[in-house]
Symmetry: C2
Subunit: 195 residues, 2 copies
DNA sequence: CGCGGGTTTGATGATGCTCAAGCCCGGTGG
DNA sequence: CCACCGGGCTTGAGCATCATCAAACCCGCG
């Protein structure tokens, strides 16, 4: 059950065999069925979750009822609401399973314990956050500078696994456009491509 | 010269007096005059910079020549192109001083040395990245879900120091709208506010 | 005085949104 | 086996928001 996590950690730092065993003891396995929630708006985010299997998303809902997807998380990814997790404030995000999922959860105090017990995990999480920040900055910059069509093109050629598993209207929501607009863009692309 | 940095570090972790002295030895002081660049598009980003004084911005320039501001950095903030700094790839960002500035620079290999020499700095940078990620995610989510006017309102009541020091057209560029649109929004706000 | 940087204003147009309807397809139950 | 339903995708018409382009204005400064 913890294979992916170990692998993921060992890609960034090196651990002794004992440490690797110790690591596992900090996590709680949890299964989620499609459409179940790990976190709902207004709750305090208790866990950081590592995805062993399945696909989740985090999103907000605005006053008009529209959803805006902040993140997808598939096998080998982490998902949480960092702010709520850290501060203990209620969250504004929903985290939902888009497919049946198997997660490894860690609570905040256990997370702190883990960093004490295996100091090199500090480095692991730093690298994780760093990569995440780079990706988020890039996405923000794209959203600031590119029109809808180019956002879509950029998504499909940087990350082809997402479009495979995610329905169109959620891709639209991830890009910050409507499903209708995305549909039209795709139509136009496929027709201009054929000629 | 290193007061702000020490202060900033001590807010997140505790250091012995020796460590604090040691810390300083890793940084190169550097002054920049208004409109000078720390980094230009196409260069590899050699430094992470801590701002002791002044105000900088990082931005990209798109094909049409429009600028898109990713970040402002004032006293007590860090600025860099993380991706280029880490990977050694050429950067797509410009980093420019908007006011005369005093910086503390650290090179990549020295940065690695620092983490070796003072392991608790790993934690400092982790917390830094975490806060930065939270802020960037929030900004992205706002950009995905809010219209121009609300973006502006949100900016002025969360961060009043920016509008003080930054010309309007750069605020517009930070929000991802045009100067003209921002000007009209402000006009409309001030008139509706008076009544 | 004239220049440059920043802001404002107006006219026009494009991009993307809203609302409403229809379609496709796989699953379910009579 | 067929009818029906729901989820997701598409299409069209009209509209709102925001961008573009061009010009004028304001003001501090050499």
């Amino acid at each position: 059950m913890h294979e992916l996590l170990s692998l993921n950690v060992r890609q960034k730092i090196s651990l002794s065999t004992q440490e690797e065993e110790l690591l596992k003891t900090f996590f709680i396995p949890k299964k989620l069925r499609k459409k179940q929630f790990l976190l709902q708006e207004g709750e305090v985010c208790q866990y950081a979750a590592f995805v062993e299997k399945g696909l989740l998303r985090s999103y907000t809902v605005d006053k008009k009822g529209n959803e805006h997807i902040l993140q997808f998380a598939m096998e080998g990814w982490w998902i949480s609401d960092l702010f709520s997790f850290y501060s203990g404030e209620p969250s504004v995000y929903m985290i939902e399973a888009m497919e049946d999922a198997e997660l490894l959860l860690i609570k905040k105090d256990r997370y702190e314990d883990l960093l004490q017990a295996i100091p090199s995990m500090e480095r692991y999480f730093r690298l994780l956050l760093q990569n995440n920040l780079i990706a988020t900055q890039r996405r923000l910059n794209d959203k600031l500078s590119l029109p809808a069509e180019e956002l879509y093109l950029k998504l499909i050629d940087t990350c082809d696994s997402i479009p495979q598993r995610v329905p169109q209207h959620m891709i639209a929501s991830f890009l910050g456009i409507t499903r209708e607009t995305l549909s039209r863009i795709r139509k136009q692309l496929s027709s201009s491509h054929k000629k």
